[in-house]
Symmetry: none
Subunit: 402 residues, 2 copies
């Protein structure tokens, strides 16, 4: 779907599309002869959809490659995940709804603790609360005046995480990260990996030095660690590419950020999965495309908690009848990547896919699970191709050629 | 895996990888309702691995394309087989461990027989023995002095096959082959297919003429036929690309050659398949990656001998417990291409693949065979993508993007 010629086939229709994305949905069994989280979960409602529709498996980036959440979501939305692999700073800025400008450089920062020898003692400053973070961002904003005259913004993200924005001409993102990833070591210097970025690295060294002085009297958060450098970049929107008026229902800033970068309208924050489905119901008449993001499947996988991941899937299944009752022309249920709880992290394994549409060709799959999807009618395909398949089933793609 | 961005994700780990490559493994049934060689073979040990791991099918180059052994092995090792499709001369030179220099032009030569009318009577000079070949190469080396002053080497390969190396500035490989592929015809002239190669063609015509004179009194091998022109080329090594310290255990020169070009250490020649497995056991602690090449599956396929190909597969199966006992983190069992004995040659059919690793996601395949692998968990994929899948399962790839 990365190809311009596919976009040229899109047409405006009344049809509606829902993407129900269970983050990190794919899994592995706890013992070699066991079941995966999804296979174990009691999912009668998803199974009914499976029997009446079609399944498949998605490779988020390429076979064998473990994706971060950013690239995996770009692939889900039909944006080439390799050429669109942007620094996390940009996704954070979008997630915070920061008013971006053309030349901005976005940087993710962690507040950290260092001792008198300059060694890091806590890379997350004891996970300070967001209020402390707010106070520290204000203090930094008030007191730092960069020698270069570069404008600088400090924005609270959550706990120990913040966003730094530099606004100036001639800023570049080719800079090394300063987090050495281990305690007991000094922070690394932000060095240019490209000659063009040398001036940027000098500005950042000045920034870090001033920040260290401003934070010197803080009990925990007396240092900043920088990563995820990204220059401003504009992406063609869902409206421009697909003629889709899209809404995102997601509670985590990064996913809201990606959706905003792609021109989706962002629903106000919700608390629970059920709130998200209620938001979908309330907004259903106003948009063509809905991205509903379920985070806890991934979180429980990252925690290594097999049975809790199973429960999250079952909780989603109980809400499926409400989603199905909306009567979307295409309903996709999948994940952005696999997060097997036995690996406690993202993995390269392909992601189960269910596509429900009146126009789909049935297969013989009876249950929503990794092994079942192997024989699904959509086969195994690159995730980036999903969007074209969805638009096709929604009647939103014209014939190619005469 | 052809892409630089994948290489950038590789990390050094202690994990070990074995590639057990049965050359020409894939096959076809003798009758439409029969079994393939692999399906017919009694392979209890491979079947046990299959049940506890995952399978798939590999397309060596692209669907429908029959590969030579060179490109198929490049694909196995994650090197794009199309952009890395080098002339066979280079593979021969590497296989003979010829000390290559930057400007060398490598050429495969056959000794052939021609009659007094200049017509070829035997394209392989009655398959002269390697000792005769040695004597002829010395004779040619001693007596030929090219008019251009170009340095020339003659190296025995095996039977009627030799390697010629030209060493000079400004040599080019865009030259037509001189073997007309039929007896009763005169050898063709080596003509330039690119203006830059005209001087090279003049040098080669001089070479052929002098060789014909030097060999005039030979009873059988009185002519040289040239093919497989290739300029020297350097490839990024397994160490550079994958951070893998690799050993090749292969008895045929060409496979040793490819492995050497990719920076693998070459195990001294062995005689039998069992010797190869003993070599693997003896070297197992010293390397990260092992390429074990089994030639007879392909040879028996090329012979059109169905039952003997079955027996080779069964002989390998009996050695599988010794391989499995080594406890490699990833064990791959596959071929470089299919060689169905009913076709007596390579074919385009996809190649069965078994991948055994603790981190693999099980499928429902119970037997190692072409039809069984159709429902394998790895699906059907380009062979060039295998290496990334293997590195992923070996924990040797970092996450892509944040």
């Amino acid at each position: 779907m990365q190809d311009k010629w596919v976009d040229d086939l899109t047409v405006r229709r009344d049809s509606k599309i829902i993407f129900l994305i269970m983050d990190g949905l794919g899994g592995l069994p706890q013992a070699p002869d066991g079941l995966t989280e999804l296979e174990m979960a009691h999912t009668p409602n998803l199974d009914t959809l499976v029997r009446n529709n079609t399944c498949g498996l998605l490779d988020p980036i390429a076979p064998g490659i473990t994706p971060g959440s950013g690239p995996a979501h770009f692939a889900l939305f039909g944006y080439d995940p390799v050429t669109n692999n942007v620094g996390r700073g940009l996704l954070s800025a979008a997630g915070l709804d920061f008013p971006m400008a053309e030349n901005d450089l976005f940087i993710r920062a962690n507040f950290a603790s260092i001792n008198q020898k300059g060694q890091i003692t806590d890379r997350r400053a004891g996970r300070i609360d967001s209020d402390t973070n707010h106070r520290l961002c204000r203090k930094l904003k008030d007191r730092i005046r960069l020698l270069s005259g570069t404008e600088v913004f400090f924005e609270t993200e959550k706990e120990h995480r913040a966003l730094i924005v530099l606004r100036d001409e001639d800023l570049h993102e080719q800079i090394t990260e300063t987090d050495p990833q281990n305690t007991g070591m000094a922070p690394l210097a932000p060095e240019a990996t490209d000659p063009a970025a040398v001036r940027t690295s000098v500005i950042l060294k000045d920034l870090i030095e001033q920040a260290h002085r401003v934070l010197a009297d803080e009990p925990k958060a007396n240092m900043l660690l920088l990563r995820g450098y990204a220059k401003y970049r504009r992406f063609p929107s869902f409206e421009e590419r697909y003629k889709l008026h899209a809404m995102a229902i997601a509670s985590y800033p990064m996913y809201r950020g990606i959706a905003r970068l792609l021109g989706m309208i962002i629903h106000p924050e919700t608390k629970t999965i059920e709130d998200e489905i209620a938001a979908l119901e309330a907004s259903f008449s106003d948009y063509d495309f809905f991205f509903v993001h379920i985070k806890p499947t991934d979180s429980r996988g990252e925690d290594g908690n097999f049975s809790e991941k199973v429960k999250v899937i079952e909780a989603v299944d109980r809400l499926v009848p409400r989603i199905a009752a909306l009567g979307a022309d295409v309903l996709v249920v999948t994940g952005d990547h696999s997060t097997p709880s036995i690996l406690k992290g993202h993995s390269w394994h392909p992601v189960p896919l269910l596509l429900a549409a009146k126009t789909c060709r049935l297969d013989r799959v009876e249950h929503f699970g990794e092994r079942d999807c192997l024989t699904g009618g959509l086969g195994r395909m690159p995730m980036v191709d999903l969007m074209a398949v969805v638009l096709g089933h929604a009647g939103r793609l014209e014939k190619f050629g005469a």
